[in-house]
Amino acid sequence: MKICLLTYRGNPYCGGQGIYTMYIARELAKLGHEVHVIQGPPYFPPMEGIHIHYVSNHNYFNIKQNYIKPHKPFATFSPLNFYEFIASKFGIFPEIETFSFRAYLKLKELLKIHKFDIIHDNQSLGYGFLLIKQFGIPFISTIHHPLSIDRSTWFEYPSDFRLKIKRVLYYPLIMQGFVARRMDHIITVSHDAANEINRAFGVKHEKMSVVYNGLDTDFFKPLPHIKKKPNSVIFVGNVEDRKKGVVYLLKAMTLTKTKFHLTVVDGGAPNRMYVTKWIDKFGLNDRIHFTGKIPGEKLIELYASHELAVSPSLYEGFGFPAAEAMACELPLIASDGGALPEVVGNHMETGYVVKSRDPYSLAEAIDYLLLNPEERKKMGKAARKRITEVFTWENAAREMEKVYREVIDAYSGF
């Protein structure tokens, strides 16, 4: 098959979209398909066997100053850039929408040379996709979870009116819902996410397929030569992302009998605004260490040197950090937010599942596992076994291939 993947941000080191596209592209290419990727910046590096096509973006939403490139001073006045510039000044996040139009223009150019069997977007769902549909090629999208979840979990935390307005404007829910209902098929990464997409966007269940994400288990693996630090717990995730539920973990730290040390790997949150305030409030300054952005190799060493991983999220469409910790044979305590129970598997066997938003249960679980080394060891081994059996990118690509064939058959029949 000739497959065209679309991702508005390609870099696999700054978010889930890039990781997903990179691995899916690689595995589909391994299965013998011709894979093209149309990606927006930051780009992922060239990969063997993958045809990469670039679309530009000036990132006006995040870059507030020095957005004029000396070698392209008038780029801001081009129609899409100018729209993006004005929209971002009003707090709208226009990158997804403008990517969809840029992808349309790029596809129009590519279709003169290539004939794609299927186009597969990765959660952009911009209005430009309605134009792409006019090409008459089966067009599907992966939705990891509807952004309405991000919005509502954000509203769970105290904030003022101005910030709430900004949040409402930020998430392009109306556009994504409108476009999602018009896609030929939707792939999602867990059964819980499928239910949420149905609820938020009104996409029918029969139009959705669940294909679990994978994990590179050759990369995420236990390192037995690294000694574990006693009473050490690790949390991986953006602490400023309010759906990660870090505040409940901080509260739990004040409730545990074991005075453990927490390592926070928060590569995605260079500016900590809220969490430092909460740490002060709970008096935990001497028990928490932030690593900032670290390379993957260092992350695996950290997993290996800690006794326990915690994922207290209020919601996860899949939960990469939870799966990574499990793949590294680390016993995991995860909340029941979103798809985490699907990833973790059997409670008390492959992981410890607690109720989300419940710091008391979380504290109890941390105490239990920190005080039971045998249980930790058993749980860690079972966790890795589950990940290597169920969540591999190879499985994901094979499932994806099956969905592609079904969609193409249905499309040609139509």
Binding site: P73, F77, P158, R357
Partner: protein, 158 residues
């Protein structure tokens, strides 16, 4: 002076001039002919001429007002778990503000539609001025950014 900077200055001057011109045309020029609250007679215009301007302007304005109403409505109606008491610093009165936002935007929308129906000058003039201000303001802003950006090329572009 680099050519980009010259164009930057032109963008700033043209946008500032056009904005000043629109202010002059809307508020100062008609002063001798009508007062702020009195109507300019748009009745003489052919309905097609009038509505060809009024409908697009009205739709854009209604879209902006509807967005405002929608924001207020989302804040007002969203149902979430209350925050942990330990992290609440001050009382959240955003629902009251959201209620007023809905009220004001709905009121303005009604006024706008009624104004267009009555062929009131200001029902067209105010939206036109706001739209011009946004577009010209953005041109001015980018022009200023071009003027103040260092014209040094990155190493690989040299």
């Amino acid at each position: 002076m680099p050519r980009a900077k010259i164009w930057g200055i032109i963008a700033v001057l043209v946008s500032a001039f056009l904005f000043a011109l629109s202010i002059f045309s809307f508020f100062i020029l008609p002063e001798g002919n009508f007062g702020f609250f009195s109507d300019v007679n748009l009745m003489n215009l052919h309905p097609l001429t009038y509505y060809s301007a009024a409908v697009p302007l009205g739709l854009i304005s209604l879209w902006v007002l509807a967005t405002g109403f929608w924001i207020g409505w989302v804040i007002l109606s969203i149902k979430v778990v209350p925050p942990m008491p330990e992290i609440v610093e001050k009382k959240d009165n955003s629902k009251i503000k959201a209620f007023f936002l809905c009220l004001i935007t709905a009121g303005l929308a009604v006024l706008l539609v009624y104004g267009i129906y009555l062929r009131n000058f200001w029902a067209l003039a105010i939206p036109a001025l706001v739209i011009s201000a946004v577009i010209l303001g953005a041109v001015f802003w980018v022009g200023m950014a071009i003027i103040t950006t260092r014209a040094t090329l990155p190493v690989n572009k040299n």
